[in-house]
Structure formats: C-alpha cells, structure tokens
Symmetry: C2
Subunit: 331 residues, 2 copies
C-alpha cells in the first residue's frame, strides 16, 4: 500500500505509491480521438465480455436490468490509497508520514469503448451524474474519509492510462493544504461580506454575460475571469450548495445537459483536446457551510506548465477568457 | 502586453498573454536527445551567425572576449510580462486586475546548439551560475520588481519551445500566493523553534544519509523526503542563505559542480528525461530573513498530473525517494 509523506516546505501531502508503476498503458503516441477507436477491444478490462479482467463490481446502473448495464463501478486495481491501515500519523526527526488511507474507484461510463460523455445521450450522462452522487455518498460512509474527489481524465496528456470511457473517485482521509487554502479564502470573504464568494462571482458573471457560455436548469457554465488555462470552464449550481451530494434530481438533469453540451463543444471546436474535469466539493463537516460552494471544473490540456509555473504557482494563459467564451458560445 | 487577473477562489494571479501564442516551436514529436541535434542550425536565433534573428544582447560572458562568447542574455521576444505600464491594480465588481508588469530574459547558455549543462565543462556551468547571479541582481534594480525566478526547461514535455540550450529569468511585480504560503510556513516554524526550516531539514538529511545523493563544497543534493515527482532533486546551500544573490564565489563553483553532475546522472540513468529546474529564492525585503533559505529544485517530467492532482493539489509519486537516491548515487 502507499505511504503519505508531508512536504514540510509547502505543508502539502504527497502520496508515494510504488504499486502504481505497474498500471497497464494503452496509449502509444497520444491520439485519443474517439472516432479512431473500435467499439470493443478484446484486451480492454472495461469492455463487456471481459469481466474476467475486472475486479468485483461494486455497483451497476440501471440497477434493475442486470444484462443491459450502462454504468459499472469497480475498485481501482492499482490504488495509491487503500483502507488497509488506519490513518495514524507518525513522526521521526523532521519526517511526518502516515499510511496512504483511502479508497479509489473506477466508474465505467458506458459499455462502448469508443464513446465518451460528449457523444452519449443526455439520459446516459444524467445516469453518470447519478452514479457520481451515489458513489460520493457511499465513500463518505467510511468515517475515516474526509474528502471525496470525482474526476475524469480524457486523453494521454491528461493522464489517462486506459482509453475506455471512465471517471474516477478518490476518497481520502487527508484534506490537502490546497483545499484548506481555498476554504480559508471563502471563510474570510464570508466574514467580511456575509455572502458566499462563488455565489457572488456567479452573480457578476451572469450580469456581465461576457464569459457566460450557457445555462441549463439550475446551472451556469462560464469561462472564469482568471482562467488558469485556455478554455477552462466552470459549471456552477445557481442555488447555494456547499456539498455535491445536495444536488436535487432536477438539478442532476440540468448538470447532465450542461456537461454533455460543454464537452461536445470543446471536442468539436478545439479538435478533441485532452482534458480533465473535477468536481470540487466541500469536505466532511463542511457540508452545510454558507461560504462554500461546489462546482465542476473542466480543464483542457492545451498548454504545458514549465519551470515558471512550478516555481511561482502562477499560470500563463496565452488566451483571453472573453474570447474563449465567445468561441464556446457558438453552436 | 499581458494582463494579470486574480483568481478570487485561490487568491492566485494568472498572467493572460495572448502574444505568447505567436512563439515559434521547434518541437515536433518530443525527442529532445542532445545526441540527435546538429551543432548549429540555420534557423535557430540562438546559434552564432544568426544575430539578425536575435533581440539586442543585454550581456555576454566572458565579458573581455567579444568574439568568444559562451553566454548571451537577451530579452524574451514573446514576453508575458513587460515593464511598459506600472503595476497598478484596478477593481470592478468582483474582478481584480493589473497590467502584466515584469521583465523576461533568455540566458543562452552556450554557442553550441547540441550541448546542455550536463555536457558542458565545470567551468562553463560555473559561468552559467555567474550569469544567473548577475541577471538576478540586475533585475532587482527595478524597484517595481519583487520576485525574480530563474529556471530551465529541458524538452517538450517540460514546456520548451526552442531547443538551443537556454535558461530563463522572469522578474515579476506580483509575489504569488504560492510563494507567500511557503513563507508563512517557514515563519511559523521559526517562531516555534527559532531555527530555519530548510536548515533543519538539511541537517536531518545529512544525518540520515538515505536520500543524500552527493556533496560538493557548500552544497548538498538530496531527494526530498516527500518528493512530489520521481527523481526530484534539491540542491541546497549548507550555510544559511535566504537570497540566491548571497552565494559566494567559492559556493558558485560548488553549485556548478553539483548541478552539472546531477544533470549528467539524471540524463544517463533515466534516459535523458525532460525536466525543469528552478531557483527558489527569497523575494524583495526578505533577503536577510533568518527563516528563509534558497534552493535549486530539479523536477524530471516522468509522470503526468491528472484530475486528482488538479483537484487536490497533492501529487501521486509512483516511486520512493530512498530508491531514487540510491540510483542517483551510482556513478
């Protein structure tokens, strides 16, 4: 199992997971275009008929039809975090470490090898959002879990090792310094102004309109004012919600429509770039906080961070968010 | 010129620089191996004889021999930061912005197109370190500059756009939230224990030895206990120094020997991977602080951060620092 170690200079934890080196890789020279993939692959563990390559299935949707599944959830075969050992810190000299406590799941999004959410039906994406919420809630049943991160890596530049369409869930005991820093900023804003920072930002974006890309029931998609990467898109629930699990049934349909459409436009207008998306939600004990607000963040991988970005933590974005939004607004 | 915008959620500044999109790119399919490059290229602006492609030269080393230069410093032709407009913030609604104030320079390391510091003589690398210090000090003569970052990008995965061996300097008015966070941690440690955090970490590494790779006069190279990426190496001055410019002449030779040797081993033992290195130094007004300590950080680009890393700020390192160090210790 992995070990977590604290970087004393930054306060951030690092997960050391030598087992991860054994992951299979289907990517050769980067091309991830769905159109060039077969509908099924003999050696793909996520394709129907290859269940012998798959760990035990944790969940399947729709639940009622065993043979006609759309979504399957399985444990990650090469986890960096596992629930084997409790999350006890130990310290010797300057070194603070702990077992890599957590859980990792793979959410297989569709039986077809060559589909991804941008090409699925709205109902299928809605089912994916349902699966996200169900697994998110299930992960938090373990009281040692404090943070659940759901994300999707699309393409080799975005860190995917398997092509079959899938999302991932990582549930962690540790709350990273990165997340705590964001919480502090939101708390300070709330204490100054008595309002949620992201509610405020969203209200201004909706007034100004220049960076708004689209709206669906309950959700607004916009390119943030200080987008760190070209064509970054935030999909934000318009009603105040700290916790992703608070999303209503109607909102899940609104999110599905917005997510599918944004991914489709990114694929078509930018030539199917690699991307990551992440659901940034509150951590345990903060689910009801008035200053925190969850959102889904899409980050196309069109630029490469270099030494400046590593040293400064700042990003250089060679584009303007207003221009990105204008391009993405076109149908 | 570029514009800086503040990400209100993280407090970090983003540099928006549409001009950067016009940079030339010599990289095709990633191969950056020095052995496959010619000694000189007709179309390379950094090669001797192509001065017509070069902006005015700011400095040359050695100074005394005009025709036998090793190092040339020129302004970056596609800067994200420029000193045209003063660094005044403006704010409207929720949007905080300012002109992208700063300076960017390219340090051409050698006339030869196919060399890099791992293959240069120790004297040549020493001259490169001298150039770093001279340009670092010169950049700080502008009182609007608060932070100077010197770094090197090696290979396409590390964000290089030109192959000819070069380092870069970015001088910025803004001090990033990332740097301030590191300062706060060092300050807190000092206030608790009355000692410099990095001095302490270094002392423990030197006692334990398991992650130490090599020592030269004045410098120790080790793989940090919580290395964020495989084969990350920190080269740290053993005497307490907050500011890179404090480095003595003898120490510059010690740093040159250590840097050259570490880059050589990384190239030979890991198959010439892409990498970045960065000099992390104190910012203006902090040059004498007892709790800050500069260091040079080498980060090979062997793994790809994905959605988990973007969302959590944590890194998954599929190797162990002790094993990295053992491999790098071999000659």
């Amino acid at each position: 199992m992995g070990e977590m170690r604290q970087n004393r200079i930054t306060g951030e934890w690092v997960i050391h997971a030598p087992e991860r080196g054994k992951r299979p890789h289907q990517y050769g020279n980067g091309q991830s275009s769905a159109s060039q993939r077969p509908q099924r692959r003999e050696d793909c563990p996520f394709c129907p008929g290859n269940e012998n390559l798959l760990p035990p299935i944790l969940m399947q949707l729709p639940e009622e039809q065993k043979d006609r599944w759309q979504i399957r959830v399985v444990p990650n075969k090469f986890p960096a975090l596992t629930p084997e050992k409790g999350p006890e810190r130990s310290s010797a000299a300057m070194s603070i470490r702990m077992p890599g406590y957590g859980r990792q799941e793979v959410i297989i999004e569709h039986p077809r090898h060559d589909l991804d959410p941008s090409g699925m039906s709205e109902m299928e994406v809605r089912r994916l959002v349902d699966a996200y919420r169900l697994r998110y809630r299930t992960a938090l049943e373990d009281r040692n879990i404090n943070m659940v991160l759901i994300f999707r890596n699309h393409g080799a530049r975005a860190g995917t090792s398997l092509r079959h369409p899938h999302s991932q869930l990582i549930a962690s005991h540790v709350v990273p310094a990165h997340v705590r820093a964001r919480e502090r900023i939101a708390q300070r804003y709330y204490d100054y102004w008595g309002r949620c920072l992201l509610c405020e930002l969203l209200a201004r974006e909706c007034e100004e309109r220049r960076r708004v890309v689209m709206e669906t029931p309950g959700f607004t998609a916009f390119v943030p004012f200080a987008a760190e990467v070209p064509f970054e898109v935030w999909i934000v629930p318009r009603s105040h919600q700290a916790d992703f699990a608070s999303i209503t049934s109607e909102e899940r349909s609104g999110l599905a429509r917005c997510l599918k459409e944004m991914l489709r436009r990114i694929r078509e207008k930018l030539g199917d770039p690699d991307y990551n998306y992440i659901i940034n939600s509150s951590v345990r004990y903060k689910e009801e906080e008035p200053q925190l607000h969850w959102w889904l963040q899409i980050r196309p991988r069109l630029v490469t961070p270099a030494g400046f970005e590593i040293g400064s933590g700042m990003r250089i974005n060679p584009t303007l968010p207003e221009e990105n939004a204008e391009i993405l607004r076109g149908h």
